[in-house]
C-alpha cells in the first residue's frame, strides 16, 4: 500500500463522514421543524383527526294554548339507517324478513342509499313501527352496516288544525345553513307560522358529544370522561293566546268555505282563534315528507298554504263606514246630528246607487242601515277640502295600510291610498274625485286583510286604543321561568269617546234592526257589528262581518270574511255571531243558525230571488 492510497483513503473517509453528517442533520432539522416549530399546527391537526364531534339534537319546545292545554308536542319516530360500504348484501333476505317487506323493495332502497354515498350513513326506512324497530335492534349484531336512530316529529294531540298559525317544519335550505352557523345538514327549521317566527326560541341549543374515533371512523367511546361534552338544552315552550275549543269550533264553521275568521280580545290584542280556510293537515307534513301531499297542497287552486287571515288583500266594503264616521267627526266635517238625505242615489259625476230606504240619515242611522249616500258625501267633502292625505294618515292610526304587527310571517300591509300613491298609480294629477269618492264606502283601491279589520274593530270597541294582535303570550324556558309577553296598547289621542259612542250605537243597530238582525243577533248577548261586501270581478261578492260584544266593556272582537259567498249578512255574520255565542255561553243554543252555517249555500243576488230583499251591506 502506498502513501498516496492511504491519503486518498483518509480523504474519502472524511468526505463520506461529512456527507453523512450533513444529510443526517438535514433529517434531524426536518424532524425538529415538524415537532418543535410547527408543533401547534400538527397538535391541532392530530386532535381534529382523532376527535369527532357528534351533535345531539335538543328537544324542540312545546306549544300550549291559553289555558295550559298542550297543542303541539314531540313524538319519537324510529328509523333504520344503512352504511352501504359495511353492509353485506347476503343479509338482504334476513333484513327483509325482519322488516316484513319484499326483498326487491329492500334492495331498491339499499341501491338508493348506495347511489347517495358508499361510505356515509343514510336513512333506509323512517317512521317504522316500534315492534319492527325493536326486532331490528335485537338483530343488529347479525347485520353489520345497519344502524338505528330515534328522531322526533311534531305531534298535534288536540283535534285542532291551526295549520296556518302553528306552521310546519322542513329541512333547512342552503341559505339558512349559511346564515345560521348552528344549523347542520338535515336539521329541520320552522318554515311557516309560529314555528318559523319562534324558531330560535323553540329550537333550544344543540348538544355536542366528543367521541374518539379511529381512522376508519369507528367510535371508540367518549373523550376524556365527557369533560368536553356540552349537553343539549331543550327549546323553550311557547304559551299561545289561542283558546283550543274556540279554535276548533271556528275551524268547524269555516269547513268547506274559503275565507278567514279571527276572534280577538279587543283590550289586549290576544288572538283567541284564527282560521284560514281551506287549510292543510300539519300531521301529514310532520316527520318524513309526504311528497304527493306536499305537491297537492302546493298546486291546489284554492291555495290552502296561504293564510287568508293576515295575507289576503280585499276591499273592506261597508265595514269601512264606522271608521269613516270617526274620521268625519274628528275632521269636524260632520257632527253626530248632521243629517244627509238619501234620494236612492248619490249624484256626483255619475249616480252612486244607495239601497237604503229613502229619507234623512244621521251618522248612527247611516251606519245601522249602511247608507252609501251619507259616506259618499262625507268622502266628497274630505277630498274637495284637500284632506285626502290627512284622512289616509288617520286611517293608518287604526293599523290599516301599514305593516301589520301580528307575530306571524307574511302579513300584508294592505293599501290606504293617499295622493302620493294615486300619483304613482295614475300619473301626477291624472286622477280625480271619481277615483276617490268610493273610498268612502270601502271600495276602489282600498285593500285590507281580516286581521287589520279585527284590529280596527278592537280600537273602536276598546275606547280608542291601538292594540297589537298577537298569538304568543308567554315563553317558558326549560328551567320553568315564564316570561310574559304583553304588547303595549297605545291610546290614539285624537279619538274621543263621544265619537265612539255614536259609532258603537250604530253598530249595535246593525245587529238589532239592520242587516244583521236575522243571523247575528243573540237575545242574551249585546253584539254590535257591521256587514260589508267586497265586490269581486270573479264570481260572487266576498262577505265581511266584523263585530264585538258585549256593547259596554267589550271582551271579544270577531271578524269573519267569506269569499264568493254573496250577502255578508247570511254568510259572514252568522259565523261571527256563533263564535261570540260559543265564547260567552260555551255552547250553541241557536241550532238553526249553526245548521245554516254548516250547510251553507251561497245565493246569487243577481239572479231573481224572492227569498231576500237587497240591502246595502
Amino acid at each position: 500500500m502506498t502513501t498516496g492510497q492511504t491519503n486518498r483513503t483518509r480523504t474519502s473517509i472524511r468526505a463520506l463522514q461529512v456527507i453523512i453528517f450533513g444529510l443526517t442533520f438535514i433529517v434531524l432539522g426536518r424532524v425538529f421543524y415538524l415537532q418543535i416549530v410547527e408543533y401547534d399546527m400538527y397538535a391541532a391537526l392530530g386532535q381534529e383527526n382523532s376527535i369527532r364531534q357528534e351533535y345531539i339534537d335538543p328537544a324542540r319546545g312545546l306549544i300550549y294554548d291559553r289555558n295550559g292545554r298542550l297543542i303541539v308536542d314531540n313524538e319519537p319516530i324510529f328509523s333504520i339507517t344503512i352504511t352501504p360500504s359495511l353492509f353485506d348484501k347476503s343479509n338482504i333476505p334476513l333484513l327483509s324478513s325482519i322488516l316484513n317487506i319484499p326483498d326487491s323493495l329492500l334492495a331498491s332502497h339499499i341501491q338508493q342509499a348506495q347511489d347517495y354515498s358508499w361510505h356515509r350513513t343514510s336513512r333506509l326506512f323512517t317512521e317504522i313501527d316500534f315492534s319492527t324497530f325493536s326486532a331490528v335492534q335485537e338483530n343488529l349484531w347479525r347485520l353489520p352496516g345497519i344502524g338505528h336512530q330515534i328522531e322526533s316529529k311534531r305531534h298535534y294531540p288536540t283535534g285542532m288544525k291551526a295549520s296556518h298559525l302553528l306552521g310546519y317544519l322542513r329541512e333547512a335550505n342552503e341559505n339558512e345553513y349559511q346564515q345560521i352557523s348552528t344549523l347542520r345538514l338535515g336539521d329541520k327549521v320552522g318554515k311557516s307560522g309560529l314555528e318559523m317566527i319562534y324558531q330560535d326560541t323553540l329550537r333550544g341549543r344543540m348538544g355536542i358529544n366528543y367521541l374518539r374515533v379511529n381512522a376508519l371512523g369507528q367510535a371508540l367511546g367518549n373523550f376524556e370522561d365527557n369533560t368536553l361534552t356540552r349537553t343539549p338544552v331543550q327549546g323553550a315552550d311557547i304559551i299561545t293566546t289561542l283558546d283550543t275549543d274556540l279554535q276548533i269550533f271556528a275551524e268547524e264553521l269555516m269547513e268547506g268555505k274559503r275565507g278567514a275568521v279571527i276572534a280577538m280580545n279587543p283590550n289586549t290584542g290576544a288572538i283567541l282563534a284564527m282560521v284560514s280556510s281551506p287549510s292543510y293537515d300539519l300531521d301529514r307534513l310532520a316527520g318524513r315528507l309526504d311528497l304527493d301531499y306536499w305537491q297537492a297542497i302546493n298546486t291546489d287552486s284554492t291555495t290552502p298554504l296561504y293564510n287568508r287571515a293576515i295575507s289576503s288583500r280585499q276591499p273592506p266594503g261597508s265595514i269601512f263606514k264606522p271608521l269613516m264616521g270617526i274620521i268625519g267627526l274628528h275632521l269636524g266635517i260632520i257632527t253626530p246630528e248632521t243629517e244627509v238625505y238619501n234620494s236612492g242615489a248619490y249624484i256626483r259625476g255619475r249616480a252612486y246607487r244607495d239601497l237604503a230606504d229613502i229619507g234623512e240619515y244621521d251618522l248612527e242611522k247611516a251606519i245601522t242601515f249602511s247608507s252609501n249616500t251619507y259616506f259618499l258625501s262625507l268622502m266628497d267633502q274630505i277630498a274637495t277640502s284637500g284632506k285626502l292625505n290627512e284622512w289616509s294618515d288617520l286611517i293608518n292610526d287604526f293599523g290599516l295600510g301599514v305593516p301589520n304587527a301580528v307575530d306571524l310571517p307574511n302579513a300584508n300591509a294592505g293599501i290606504i291610498p293617499d295622493s302620493t300613491y294615486l300619483n304613482n298609480r295614475f300619473g301626477d294629477r291624472y286622477w280625480g274625485l271619481g277615483d276617490v269618492l268610493n273610498f268612502g264606502i270601502g271600495q276602489g283601491m282600498i285593500s285590507v286583510s281580516p286581521i287589520q279589520i279585527a284590529q280596527m274593530t278592537s280600537t273602536i270597541a276598546n275606547g280608542g286604543y291601538r292594540i297589537k294582535p298577537h298569538l304568543v303570550q308567554g315563553i317558558k324556558d326549560p328551567k320553568g321561568n315564564l316570561t310574559n309577553i304583553h304588547p303595549q296598547r297605545k291610546k290614539i289621542e285624537w279619538i274621543k269617546d263621544e265619537y265612539l259612542d255614536v259609532i258603537k250605537r250604530g253598530m249595535r243597530g246593525v245587529v238589532v234592526e239592520g242587516s244583521g238582525r236575522w243571523y247575528a243577533n243573540h237575545q242574551d248577548i249585546e253584539i254590535a257589528g257591521k256587514t260589508g261586501t267586497a265586490q269581486n270581478p270573479h264570481g260572487l261578492d266576498h262577505g265581511w262581518f266584523t263585530s264585538f260584544a258585549p256593547m259596554d266593556n267589550p271582551e271579544i272582537v270577531v271578524t269573519a270574511f267569506v269569499e264568493n259567498a254573496g250577502f255578508a249578512s247570511r254568510s259572514a255574520a252568522p259565523i261571527a255571531s256563533l263564535i261570540i255565542e260559543k265564547y260567552f255561553m260555551g255552547e250553541i243554543s241557536r241550532n238553526w243558525i249553526y245548521e245554516h252555517v254548516i250547510n251553507f249555500e251561497p245565493i246569487d243576488p243577481e239572479a231573481n230571488n224572492d227569498l231576500i230583499t237587497p240591502v246595502n251591506e
Binding site: R30, F32, I36, L45
Partner: protein, 416 residues
C-alpha cells in the same frame, strides 16, 4: 482469541439500543390499543420480531468466532447461492404488498433479496480487491464490478421491490469510488439521483443542480469531456423526469409524486399517508404523547406503522427527544463504522465496511425522509427498528461482519 477489549462494544450497544427502541415501537404499533383494528397475524409481529432479535444476537456472536478470511473465501459461493434463491423467489415466491420477494421456507418467509445484499457486497468487494492492480479507474474492471451489482438489482426490480433495487444501485457509486474511481467521476455517477429528486419538486431546481454539479466536476477533475457529459446527462435526466411524469408513469405513481410535492392536493387519497405521517411526528412535540398514548398510532391513522412508518410511532409517542435519540444513534453508528473502515489495513475490509455503512445510511435516510415528508414515500424499512425478520437478520449479519473484521484487524492484512 483476541483481547475482548479490542471489540467495538459501543457499536454493539448501539445495535442493542436501536433493537430495543424498535421492539418498543413495534409493540406500541401492534400490541397497543390499536391492536383491536389489526388482524391477528399483524398483532403477532411483535413476538416474531422479538424472536428474530434473539436469533440475530446469537448469529452476531457466532459471526465473531470465524476468521475474517472466511468472508473472502465464501463470497462468490454466497453470491451464487443468493442468485439461485432470487430466481427461485421469482418462480415460486409469495407476493406481499405487491412485491414478490418472499420465499416460503418452512415456518418463516425468507426475503432472499435481503441476504443478497450481503452476498453482493462481499462478492463485489472480493472482486475489486482480489488483485493489487485492479482499480475502478480501469473501465474494464469497473464494468465487471457494475455487472456483479446489476444482476441482483435487475432480479430485485423484477420482484417489483423498487426500494431494495435502489439500495443495490446506490452500491455502485460507493464501491467504485472506494476502488479508485476519481471523485469527479463518482460525483458524475450520483448526480442523476440528486437531479431527479430536485426536478420532481420543480424542474428548474433540477436545472440549477445540474449546472452546479457540472461546475464542481470540472473543478475537481479538470476534464472538459466529463463536464460536458455531466451537463448533457443532467438535462437528459430532467427531460426524462418530465416525460415520466407527463407520459410514462401510471396515474397512481403520479399521484404519489403529486402527494409528495403537495399533500393537501388529495388528502384522502395519495396525500393521506404523507399528511398522517407528518401529523403523527409533528403532534409529538418535544416530549411526545407517551408510550401507547399516540392518537395517530393507536387510532390507526398511520399505514404500515410497524415497518415503513415506524419512525412516526417513535416521533409521536416519544417526541423530539425520542426521535433525536434514534437519529443520533444512527449518526454515531455511521461515523463509527467509517472510522473502522479508515483503520483497516486490508482493502476488502475497508470496502465491505464502507458499503455496509452506505446501505444502512440509504435505508435510514430514505425511511426517515419518507416519514417526515422530506422525500416521496419509498417503502424501505428503518434498519434494526422496523419489523421484518429477514431484514433484521441481514442487517445484523452485515454489522457483525464489520465488527468481526474490526475485531481481527491486526491479523487481517494483505501482508500475512
Amino acid at each position: 482469541m483476541n483481547n475482548l477489549r479490542e471489540f467495538s462494544w459501543s457499536v454493539l450497544f448501539t445495535w442493542m439500543l436501536l433493537s430495543a427502541i424498535g421492539l418498543i415501537a413495534i409493540y406500541s404499533a401492534t400490541q397497543g390499543p390499536v391492536s383491536q383494528f389489526l388482524p391477528e397475524y399483524i398483532q403477532n409481529n411483535f413476538f416474531k420480531q422479538s424472536a428474530w432479535v434473539l436469533i440475530s444476537l446469537f448469529v452476531l456472536i457466532a459471526v465473531q468466532l470465524v476468521s475474517p478470511r472466511t468472508f473472502i473465501q465464501l463470497s462468490y459461493a454466497l453470491y451464487a447461492i443468493g442468485i439461485i434463491l432470487m430466481l427461485l423467489t421469482l418462480a415460486f415466491g409469495t407476493e406481499i404488498n405487491g412485491a414478490k420477494s418472499w420465499l416460503r421456507l418452512g415456518p418463516a418467509n425468507l426475503q432472499a433479496s435481503e441476504l443478497m445484499k450481503i452476498a453482493t457486497i462481499l462478492a463485489t468487494a472480493n472482486y475489486l480487491t482480489s488483485r493489487r492492480d485492479i482499480s475502478a479507474e480501469n473501465v474494464r474492471y469497473a464494468l465487471i464490478a457494475v455487472v456483479i451489482i446489476l444482476i441482483p438489482t435487475i432480479l430485485v426490480f423484477l420482484q417489483n421491490d423498487l426500494g431494495t433495487a435502489l439500495i443495490f444501485l446506490a452500491l455502485i457509486p460507493v464501491m467504485l469510488f472506494w476502488s479508485g474511481l476519481p471523485y469527479g467521476v463518482s460525483l458524475f455517477m450520483i448526480s442523476p439521483a440528486i437531479i431527479v429528486y430536485l426536478s420532481v419538486i420543480e424542474w428548474y431546481y433540477g436545472a440549477i443542480a445540474a449546472v452546479i454539479l457540472t461546475c464542481v466536476i470540472f473543478f475537481v477533475q479538470r476534464r472538459l469531456w466529463l463536464s460536458i457529459a455531466s451537463l448533457v446527462t443532467g438535462f437528459l435526466t430532467i427531460s426524462g423526469v418530465q416525460l415520466a411524469i407527463t407520459q410514462l408513469l401510471q396515474p397512481h405513481q403520479i399521484a404519489r409524486i403529486a402527494a409528495f410535492t403537495n399533500p393537501s392536493y388529495d388528502p384522502t387519497g395519495a396525500g393521506w399517508n404523507v399528511i398522517q405521517a407528518k401529523t403523527a411526528i409533528g403532534s409529538g412535540g418535544l416530549t411526545g404523547k407517551g408510550f401507547l398514548e399516540g392518537t395517530q398510532t393507536q387510532l390507526k391513522f398511520l399505514p404500515e406503522q410497524w415497518t415503513d412508518f415506524v419512525f412516526c410511532v417513535i416521533g409521536e409517542e416519544f417526541g423530539f427527544i425520542g426521535a433525536a435519540i434514534v437519529i443520533l444513534a444512527f449518526l454515531f453508528l455511521f461515523i463509527r463504522l467509517l472510522n473502522m473502515a479508515g483503520n483497516h489495513k486490508h482493502p476488502f475490509a475497508q470496502l465491505v465496511t464502507v458499503s455496509v455503512t452506505a446501505v444502512f445510511f440509504v435505508h435510514f435516510f430514505i425511511n426517515v425522509g419518507s416519514a417526515s415528508a422530506l422525500l416521496p414515500v419509498i417503502g424501505l424499512p428503518l434498519p434494526f427498528i422496523s419489523y421484518g425478520g429477514s431484514a433484521f437478520l441481514t442487517n445484523t449479519i452485515m454489522l457483525a461482519i464489520c465488527l468481526n473484521m474490526d475485531f481481527y484487524k491486526r491479523e487481517f492484512s494483505i501482508y500475512r
